[in-house]
Amino acid sequence: MSWKIEIADKPGIFDAVGAGVKKDIIDLGVKAVKGVRFIQVYTLDGTLAQNQVATICSQLLVDPVSQDCYINRPTILTSGINADRVVEVAYNPGVMDPVEESALKGIRDLGIDGVAAFKTAKKYIIEGKLTDAQFKMITEKLLYNKLIQHVVRGQGSGDRGQEKEKSEPKFKLITVDLIGASDKKLQEISKTGQLFLNLAEMRMIKKYFQKIKRNPTDCELETIAQTWSEHCAHKTFRGKIEYREKLLSKLKPITYNLKPRLIDNLLKSTIMKVTQDLNKSWCVSVFHDNSGVIEFDKENNVCFKVETHNHPSALEPFGGANTGVGGVIRDPLGTGLGAKPILNTDVFCFAPPDYPFSKLPKGTLHPKRVMKGVVSGVRDYGNKMGIPTVNGAILFDERFVGNPLVYCGTVGIMPKDKSFKRAKVGDLVVAVGGRTGRDGIHGATFSSGELTHESETISSSAVQIGNPIQEKKMVDAILQARDRDLYDAITDCGAGGFSSAVGEMGRDLGVRVDLEKAPLKYSGLSYTEIWISESQERMILSVPKENLAELLDLFAGENVEAAVIGEFTGSKRLELFYSGRKVGDLDMDFLHAGLPDIKKIAVFTQKRHPQPKLPLKKDLTLYLLKLLSSYDICSKEWVIRQYDHEVQGQSVIKPLVGIVNDGPSDAAVVKPILGSVKGLVISCGINFRFGGIDPYWMAASCIDEALRQVIAVGGSLERAAILDNFCWGNPDKPDRLGSLVRAAYGCYDIAKGFGVPFISGKDSLYNEYTEHGKSLAIPGTLLISAIAVMEDARKAVSMYAKRPGGLIYAVGETKEELGGSQYYALLGALGNSVPRVDCSVAIKIFAALNRATALGLVSSLHDCSEGGIAVAAAEMAFAGGLGMEMFAGEIPYRTQDAGRKTQDVRNDVLLFSESNSRFIVEVEKSKQKEFERALTGVPLGLIGCLSDKEYFTVHGLNGKVCVKADIAQLKEAWQRPLRW
């Protein structure tokens, strides 16, 4: 029988959840709402006596101090709310309810065993005179997502949970008629099976099966589709590209105008080539394991991986970001023999949060809801795993409305002798962690195609909710097993599930899998579903038989499931069985090397963008205030505080710094080993606007930004490495691919110029949203993440102004580079003068500043990014609670080209240009000489000083004041927009 239990706050207890929902409803524009009450609903199924249910409620479900509980009767409201509208939201059948497992444990701990199922639901009582339309909008736009949840009709208990628990299906081997299929039929098979394979690939598969004279099973076809998907195989980056470009002006050519150039493997020709050319001895393992590994100290290596989870986050922001974080944590965990995750990074791109509802494309969620959901998803997973989220960025543009970008990164640390793995013939394939369910089927192939307004119905099974505690337990168990040498190899189950993880691990050996041995969430899964399910929180271990008992024992002690599902055979074949019957038998060589060569066409055509009309106003204060309030620049404190950025006790430079801990830090510094002073610097560079002018210089700027942030906290480039994450539109369209190629070549030239290797990377293509045939592509967006080892973290510096009387320097050259700047965006233009990078100059600046910080000559240091020198200096001043007086004429300035006529320098160019490789530095007066000596040969200008007057003043070129504002006013402008 089923019991429905409702839990509500006692009268007088502040209902914080309800209050939050009320605020969101008002944000939706429904002002009529008077109040919202939140009620937690639990449904218990099983054979239970009344008194047992009462015990469960009083001992476990209700907080006796703050809550009341109602069994099998609706909540009685005593707080004066008139229940005008009631809505109850529950998970759809088959969606994992993360609370169920721990609740069942709690009930067993009470000595009660009769509970078969435990489900949660949320009930909202909304007060106020709402129309039906308003109520419907609130429910749909705010309270539930139909992909994973539904509204419970009527007051009866549990009408859920039945669908998935079908009876054991009769085994039926399904084969697909391929060897006799026409081209048309092949395409149809690909489309209806959601295989996302093109005709050439389907033909290749047909040829293989013709050769072995049989048709493939559904399971084999799925395995090939997963392995060959863009997501897993990176066909674009590793394939052939015919590239040509048409340049209007002085952009740096990669090839001659319009002459085609054939690129064989873009990845190897650019990103990987940097690493190969530089050949750093401290790069331990790059581009072949689940993350890039570099040396940290005598005993340990660190590894870093950044992933994207864009498509799932577009459809279900919480679940998408949640599983995105969960997924990337498993990358370091699956690197070598397993690294301990020590920090996370998160970078997002959304449409502006004030985007009009009326303009939303069909089938998309409002950007504010997407943002709130994504932030909650990251918060939930990162905080519960106990991994500090220390660095990130958030950018906004209308073109992200259909495809938000969600980048998640994780750094791990492991002993040097645990940095490599090797599965051996005879080892057992052991699946550990969560169980396998029907959730997350077709994630890899789904993310290799464009989204459409139908995606939310077609691909809903690709959306999941994570269970961070499941993963936390698994990490705890795996790291102990690693230290006891209980396994030979490990990898994560990500996209493609077992099919990718086991297939990849067994690629050189051959492997046999008995699919019925995988622990399942519920019965009824077919062998193919088991094989390709992307259920979260699972890893695969390769375990020598003699270690099995000890391993199983260890995992049991941590309440983590582990099951033997197969064996590495040495047959060089992938052999799949279900209850003894063969359901798949593929040649590993064909599976991993059979992908046909494809050639894509790429064309980059430079566009000329209109120049904005520059304002004639002499007073630029208003522009500075507007820049500080722009979504890209403004404070992200609302987000950052929701992440635990200090767990593990390693934090040295926190994401928020300042006299009241609320200024924008340039990068994070952590000390991964408790008791050691050795540090790690983590930063990121991202600016899609520059890519609208030239993706080459966008890539250059992103690399410069990430690296100058390393310098800005006191780090050096000596042991710095970077990661690339390309998020682009459909690469089958030549213009999209053309800009991708240019960006990749920018990466090569500039990373090489800085002498900084790439150690890992990932691409997410097909970020387009098609509505009724009209395609909306994201701007090609490159994220560069940097990691740098710091010998002594106690030498770190922060960005906030420290002392009145401190001297303020501008370091690096300011040029007339306002193309793609925030200032131009404010004026409604993109422009053409994109910031460039001169590596030879930049290296000198970085090295000199690093020397100065190491000598303790720098009181504070801030890099100049969006908004230029004015924004950087203002942030420094208000974060430190100090005034600043500045002279624009002292800013080191250089015209773009020597040959060009020097045009009149303008105050707004000096203050708002976004030229690269620049910093603002605070130096104590007593250290002036020493500092200037340390920066000999570097463009340097003493531009002002700090005071306790609390005014930020800039004198223009003619000596007259062009910016004057109270620092409190500047800070308020910067904090207001996202103070939700």
Partner: protein, 300 residues
């Protein structure tokens, strides 16, 4: 605005002295600390490290090992419940672990307390102590207080100033403060500075009587305040706790529970503004562990 140590909330005890002291105690026998783990515990390693820095030996022990009898609480003088999200904080923060303790480890726990040993619960650990009835504490282990969702409705990580017990006492209580005193906060500065990081930290009590008893017994150990020790609203009180209560102890003063994380302020450059001032101080959090270890050494 000048920066000085008092504005940072820093005590100026010499850090070097601290190191010296640590060297001395390394010679002596070390108290044993059980840092209790369960699924979802995640501040265990830094908590163990904090105790080790304070001169104890610490061991990470899974609750399963205590339940199965593989390990015994009797081995230890201090029991620490670290921060995290035990069992996901499903059904309410700390609830399922509290339930497990009451159901499976009640005997050993009662003996541990009766033996005069020490317990500390930090963040999730505090939630466990409150929900299991060990704090504020009564013979039936009835839950009389709770830690509920923050008034802000969200998880927040921020540094807070805390007024310590002596400063919390007023008038008559202050005059007889020797009567009750939490052993963990002996000689702490009047105002200390520690980070909080939680979504469910709002301290509430069942009724006015419980609060009265807490006050009369001097069981209120920490209250949120500003840098000058004055009470204030959000964000000075980060969660809306009644009477700004951040931490309490039991009647004996040996069981301490607090929402802030002392283990995140045991080294100078964990302070959010350490780059602003070149001073050498004993981080506030380290003093709490030092007190616990010093007391436990007497039990050996």
């Amino acid at each position: 605005m000048a920066l000085d140590a008092s504005a940072c909330g820093l005590s100026m005890t010499n850090w070097e002295c601290c190191l010296e002291w640590r060297r001395d105690i390394n010679m002596a026998r070390k108290p044993q600390v059980c840092v209790l783990r369960a699924a979802g515990t995640n501040c265990d390693q830094e908590t163990a490290f904090a105790f080790e820095q304070a001169g104890a030996d610490s061991d990470l022990v899974h609750v399963n090992a205590l339940v199965s009898g593989a390990r015994e609480l009797d081995e230890f003088q201090i029991l620490a419940f670290p921060g995290g999200f035990s069992y996901g904080d499903d059904l309410g923060a700390g609830k399922i672990l509290a339930n497990e303790l009451k159901g499976k480890l009640l005997g050993p726990l009662k003996r541990f307390i009766a033996d005069g040993k020490l317990i500390i619960g930090i963040c999730n650990g505090f939630q466990v102590l409150v929900k299991s009835g060990l704090l504020p504490g009564n013979p039936e282990l009835r839950q009389e207080a709770s830690l509920i969702i923050n008034d802000s409705g969200k998880f927040e990580d921020r540094w807070v100033y805390l007024k310590t017990q002596d400063a919390c006492l007023t008038g008559r209580q202050a005059r007889r403060k020797t009567q009750v005193k939490c052993v963990w906060v002996k000689d702490l500065p009047e105002v200390v500075y520690l980070p909080v990081a939680h979504g469910e930290g709002k301290f509430v009590v069942q009724d006015a009587l419980v609060l009265k008893r807490l006050k009369e017994n001097g069981q209120i150990v920490f209250r949120y305040c500003d840098e000058h020790g004055q009470a204030g609203s959000y964000p000075i009180n980060p969660n809306g706790a009644i009477e700004h209560i951040a931490g309490i102890c039991d009647e004996t003063g040996r069981i301490l529970g607090l929402m802030p994380h002392p283990e995140r302020h045991i080294q100078p450059n964990q302070h959010p503004r350490w780059t602003g001032k070149k001073c050498r101080w004993a981080p506030d959090g380290s003093l709490i562990f030092k007190n616990g270890v010093a007391y436990a050494r007497e039990l050996l």
